[in-house]
Symmetry: C2
Subunit: 359 residues, 2 copies
């Protein structure tokens, strides 16, 4: 148990949830499900029984360290790992691995996003412990694969090679980026594809070795600071290290290239809450299928819509089917709920025409 | 000229323009066309060459007298006629007629709404003068009939009996309330129907006599105060008089019952701006047919929509066709533009569920 570590990655800006998620207050710091807890608080709570509380770390952009402290006041300062620059998940994982390894050479790590949704915590808990056990015994990079329930084109897929091992942890054959609907349907029917959850489990040593082998330059950058981790020289060293790092995802840098990648199929009611559509699916809905956040909303013949507006604003909706209506006070977005790609294009257009102000 | 009087009726609450038009600030006091002038200011300006400025009166609910003064500071206090209660247009006209008659027994009056739109002011001017000339020579109640351009089901219609008189002012055969689309099409094709503009022209004596004959009770109420008009006892008298009046429109009380009603067909680009749809028609539109008021609106594939939002709010619209999007800060309305009946039902529902606060 004392060798179990959890690294919660909380540096994202949640741009697909614009305008609710903003650069200054991204999705993980919002109570977007209306549960009374932000997503990062819910994530933290899920890991409480997995490891000692002092072994839970949050790694985030340094600009969000105040938000992390505010949302998770139980964390000690040293449990908040600050990234000086946004360099995607590969440097983030490398940094965390070096730091944890310097703390405990026998560490087993879970690396998890901070802004996902899990419905069945007991199953989640069991999977995490099973994964940590496997990672402690094998030089393997383990990823959590979600048993797919629909041909979702918004997720990456993992193909695995089924065998009869009693741990039900399987060798990964391929990673696939977001497929077309046709291919997604084939994946679903084949039965040997899982959704890529972005939750990883490995020993600190195994991921260290993987970087050493597959990303030697990035490995070298972080290895040079071995003596500085967990000292007051760490911050200065990391600042320099990050400027040298390329922007790469852990999937691209390690998982897709490694030959000791395994997947643990899991089914705990997971969603990455990556789009308005996926948030809509998790929301309680009225009999017309409207998910409404806002205490002053009059729905007339609107249906299948996601409505998120201030409580003190009277909002009257008529004749809408399948829309997002998001009012944040300074921004109003009305768009078709299933046009997920739109949000990305919209924020790009907003940035181009209005600058950073509304992002 | 000195016998010409204009009575601008400005007591309405403009409920069909909710939420932009509010009980506390109705449509006539809003620069709803974005011209820099409120509708009542535009209305006043149209009558500047019709009569001496001291002969233009505004009659309104007493709660709006401050707004009238603010919008038309050139008016003397005595040119603002205050109604103590809302009793529709019949008491309003009767009151004004008695008051004007006490001022000038030879007065000819134009009675006009304060919140309509006129495109061709020169034609309008000519029609008003022609109508006043006719009213000065005949004991007749003259109404302005607009040559219809489409089978609009939102207007009342006036059927007239065409003859060869050189003034081109015709006897009215019938008044018809808002027709069905089928009937409106027949009206349009027949060529002997006009839209009821709600602009009336008559001598003070003629309308006085019409009330005397057709609404003797209401006539008596106002006749009793003959000695008080234009004195400091007028307000107290009127307060009592209004409590005795029934709620009736001038159309119903007088025009539909009288046998000396005439119509002057006119074509000066008129709209009653009675609905969001009719406002939309008068607005400048982008190439996709969107009428946008708000300096921070990003229209993606939206079309044929009426958008009225605060300048400082970023509004992004995607996938809307034919909608109204009206954001007033405290209220957001999204509804299909052509569902005019909806607004009435919506405000009724808002009143029922939220009280007067948002009306």
């Amino acid at each position: 148990m004392e060798n179990n570590f959890v690294i919660i990655m909380a540096g994202g800006i949640g741009s697909r949830f614009w305008p609710k998620s903003r650069v200054a207050l991204p999705k993980q710091f919002i109570d977007i499900l209306g549960t009374g807890q932000s997503l990062i608080q819910m994530t933290y709570d899920r890991f409480k029984d997995i490891c000692p509380p002092e072994n839970i770390y949050v790694i985030t952009n340094e600009s969000y360290s105040g938000l992390v402290k505010a949302h998770l006041p139980q964390l000690d300062d040293k449990q908040i790992i600050k990234e000086p620059l946004r360099r995607n998940t590969a440097p983030c994982v490398a940094y965390a691995a070096h730091k944890i390894l310097a703390t405990n050479p026998d560490a087993r790590m879970i690396v998890s996003p901070s802004d996902h949704f899990v419905e069945r915590k007991d199953v989640f808990n069991e999977m995490m412990l099973r994964g940590l056990d496997f990672a402690g015994k094998n030089d393997a990079l383990l990823t959590l694969g979600i048993v797919p329930t629909r041909p979702d084109t918004g997720y990456g897929y993992i193909q695995f090679i089924e065998d009869q091992n009693k741990e039900r942890i399987y060798k990964v054959k391929t990673f696939t980026e977001k497929p077309t609907l046709e291919i997604a349907k084939e994946f679903l029917n084949s039965g040997d594809f899982l959704w890529n959850s972005g939750i990883f489990i490995w020993s600190a040593k195994s991921i260290y070795k993987a970087f050493e082998k597959l990303e030697p330059e990035m490995h070298e950058i972080f290895a040079e600071g071995a003596e500085y981790y967990n000292t007051d020289k760490e911050a200065v060293f990391i600042k320099k290290a990050y400027t040298q790092c390329t922007n790469e995802s852990i999937d691209y840098a390690i998982m897709e290239k490694s030959d000791n990648v395994y997947v643990l199929p899991a089914d705990f009611g997971w969603s990455d809450l990556g789009t308005w559509q996926s948030l809509y699916e998790k929301y309680e809905k009225d009999y017309l299928g409207n998910a409404v956040s806002g205490s002053n909303v009059l729905v007339r013949d609107a249906a299948n819509s996601m409505v998120m507006v201030p409580d003190n604003k009277l909002v009257v909706l008529q004749g809408l089917d399948g829309y997002c209506v998001i009012d944040t006070g300074d921004v109003l977005l009305i768009c078709q709920k299933e046009k997920e790609q739109e949000i990305k294009e919209i924020t790009a257009e907003v940035k181009k025409r209005k600058g950073e102000k509304y992002l």
